[in-house]
Amino acid sequence: MSWFKRKKEGITTSTKDKKETPDGLWYKCPECKTIITTDEHEDNSWVCTSCAYHEKIGSEEYFALLFDNNAFTEINAGVKSADPLNFTDTKKYSARLADTIAKTELNDAIRTAYGKVDGNDLMIACMDFKFIGGSMGSVVGEKIARSIDYCLANRLPLMIISKSGGARMMEAAYSLMQMAKTSAKLSLMAKAGIPYISFLTDPTTGGVTASFAMLGDLNISEPGALIAFAGPRVVRETIGKDLPEGFQTAEFVLEKGFLDKIILRKELKTNIGKLLNMFAN
C-alpha cells in the first residue's frame, strides 16, 4: 500500500493543455524564491522586486546601468591571456580559455570603457564573474593598468567594479604580481589627485580584495555582497566553528569600517554622479 493517495482524479494537466514557456522568460530569486518575469527583473536593475536581492550581473549590465544612454568607448577589448606557464590542471588552461571565450563572448574577466555618468566623465573597469570566476590574471592587471594610464593622461576619474574569486591560479606568480601592478598604478592616481572609486560587488575576495578593491578613495558596495580576503570556507576551517550570521557581508564590512557606503543598485547611477560632482567642484 502506498503512503499517499490521490483524492481527486484528473488534476494533472493533459499534454495538449500545457503551455510552451520559452527558456529565460522567468526569473526565480535564489533568496526568497519569488518568481517574476525576466523583463520585470531587468526593469528593476536585476534586483528582486520582493526581497531586494541583488542578482550578480556583468560588465554589459553595469555599463548599461551607469553610462548615459548606454554610450561608451571600450578600450583594449582585444587583450587576451597568453598562458605564459603552459599550465595544465585537470584541463589545459589554453583550452579552458578558448572554451570560456566561446561560451561567454568575453575575452577575459574585465572590460574597460569610458563615457559619461550623469554628465560626468568616468572610466569604468568592470569585472565579469562568468569568466573563470572573475579571476585576476595578467589580462585583468594589464587592462586596469592601461585604463589608469588613460585616466592619468586625460585626468579622468576611475571606477573599478570588482567581482572576483581572487587571483587566477593558472597564471601563478604572474597573477600574484598583478596585485602589485594595479596597486602601484593606483599610487600614481593618488599622487596625481585623480579620484578612484572602488565598487565591490558580490563576490569580492582574495587577491582582488587585497589590492585595488580596498584602495578606493571611496569604497562602495552593494547590499549583501560577499567581501573577504580569505573566503568563508577557509575561515571556518581555520577557527573550527561556524561563522556568525552575516559575517563578511557588505553590511558587516561597513560596520567594521572598511566601506564608505552601501548603495542600492537602483540608486547607483545618481549616487556616483553626485559623488563625481563632489570631487569635480
Binding site: 598604478k185 589590492s211 578593491a213
Partner: protein, 317 residues
C-alpha cells in the same frame, strides 16, 4: 639535525662518519684518510642532491625545520645590533611579523619580516609566520618610520600566507595587505626584499614590493601553496607535486620569468646546513644591493620600482 626524505643518503653518510670516528677513538687506529674520503663524499652528495631537487622538494627544503628564520638573520646580519620594535599603534603587537632597527657595518637599516616559531609553543604564538592585519600595519608603521629618517628597508619574507582567521577578516586583512603594497610602491628609501623560506601569496607580497626582490636558492614564491592549489584545482590533496611543478614557483623559474630580480645562493646542502655562512652570504648581498640602490636618486628609484612591477604579466592582442 633533522633529515628530509630526500636527504636520507646524506644522513647515511653522516652516520657512517660518526661511527668511523667512534671506532677510531676506541681502537686508536688511524682513519684520517677514510674520514677525509667520507667527508668529501658527504659534500659531493649534498651538492648533487641539492642541485637536482624537484619543485616539490624545493618547497620541502624551504620548510626545513632546521632552517634559520628572519630573527636569526636580523641578529646576524646586523652583528647583533638589532633592536626589535613593537606594535601597530592601533590594535596590538603581532608576533608573526617582527621588525626593528639594526646596523650593517655601522649603517642603520630597518628590518621587517615574518617570523616562524622555533619550538611548539613559539610556533603557536607566532601563528606559524602567518601575520594578522596588525602585523602588516606594524610593518607599514616601521616602513614609514624608516622613510622619515631616510633609512633603507630590508624585508625578510617567510610565510605560508596571511592568517585566514575570523578576527583577521574583521580587522581588514585585505585592506592591510593592499595598503602595504600601495605604500611600498612609493617609499622614498631603498627597499630590498629577500625570500628566506616560503613566499605565499598576498601574505608575502604585503611586505614584498621592493627595488630588489630576491629569493634564496631553496625557497618558493607563488600565488598559492602547492597543497592548496592541488585542493582547489584537482579537488584533492594528492597533486601537490604536480601543482608545485605547474606553478613554476622555484627561484630559478621565478628569475627566468622575470618575476624576481636575483637568486641568492645558499651554502652547500641548504641554509640549514651552515647557518653562519647563510647569514654572511645574505649580509654581503644586502651590502652590494644597497650600494647599487644608493646610486639612484629616490624619484628615479620609485619610477623604476613601479615600472618593474608594471612590466609583469604576459598578454596577447
Amino acid at each position: 639535525m633533522t633529515y628530509l626524505e630526500f636527504e636520507k643518503p646524506i644522513q647515511l653518510l653522516v652516520e657512517q662518519l660518526e661511527q668511523l670516528n667512534e671506532t677510531a677513538e676506541k681502537t686508536q687506529v688511524d682513519v684520517a684518510s677514510a674520514v677525509a674520503e667520507l667527508e668529501a663524499k658527504i659534500i659531493t652528495t649534498r651538492k648533487e642532491i641539492y642541485a637536482n631537487l624537484s619543485a616539490w622538494q624545493r618547497v620541502q627544503a624551504s620548510r626545513h625545520p632546521d632552517r634559520p628564520y628572519s630573527l636569526s638573520y636580523m641578529d646576524a646580519v646586523s652583528d647583533n645590533t638589532f633592536i626589535e620594535l613593537h606594535g601597530d599603534r592601533t590594535v596590538g603587537d603581532d608576533k608573526a611579523m617582527i621588525g626593528g632597527f639594526g646596523q650593517i657595518d655601522g649603517r642603520t637599516v630597518m628590518f621587517v619580516g615574518q617570523q616562524k616559531g622555533i619550538n611548539t609553543k613559539m610556533r603557536q604564538i607566532r601563528r606559524f609566520g602567518m601575520a594578522n592585519p596588525e602585523g602588516y600595519r606594524k610593518a607599514l608603521r616601521l616602513f614609514k618610520l624608516a622613510e622619515r629618517f631616510n633609512k633603507p628597508i630590508v624585508t625578510f619574507i617567510d610565510t605560508p600566507g596571511a592568517y585566514p582567521g575570523l578576527e583577521a577578516e574583521e580587522r581588514g586583512q585585505g585592506e592591510a595587505i593592499a595598503r602595504n603594497i600601495f605604500e611600498m610602491a612609493q617609499l622614498k628609501v631603498p627597499v630590498i626584499c629577500i625570500i628566506l623560506g616560503e613566499g605565499a601569496s598576498g601574505g608575502a607580497l604585503g611586505i614584498g614590493v621592493g627595488d630588489k626582490v630576491c629569493m634564496l636558492e631553496n625557497t618558493w614564491y607563488s600565488v598559492i601553496s602547492p597543497e592548496s592549489c592541488s585542493s582547489i584545482l584537482w579537488r584533492n590533496w594528492d597533486n601537490k607535486e604536480t601543482a608545485a611543478e605547474a606553478l613554476k614557483l622555484t627561484a630559478k623559474d621565478m628569475l627566468e620569468n622575470k618575476l624576481v630580480d636575483a637568486i641568492i645562493p645558499e651554502p652547500i646542502g641548504g641554509a640549514h646546513n651552515n647557518i653562519p655562512e647563510a647569514h654572511q652570504i645574505v649580509k654581503q648581498h644586502i651590502i652590494t644591493y644597497l650600494k647599487e640602490l644608493d646610486a639612484i636618486n629616490p624619484e628615479e628609484r620609485i619610477n623604476q620600482r613601479i615600472d618593474k612591477f608594471c612590466n609583469m604579466g604576459v598578454v596577447v592582442e
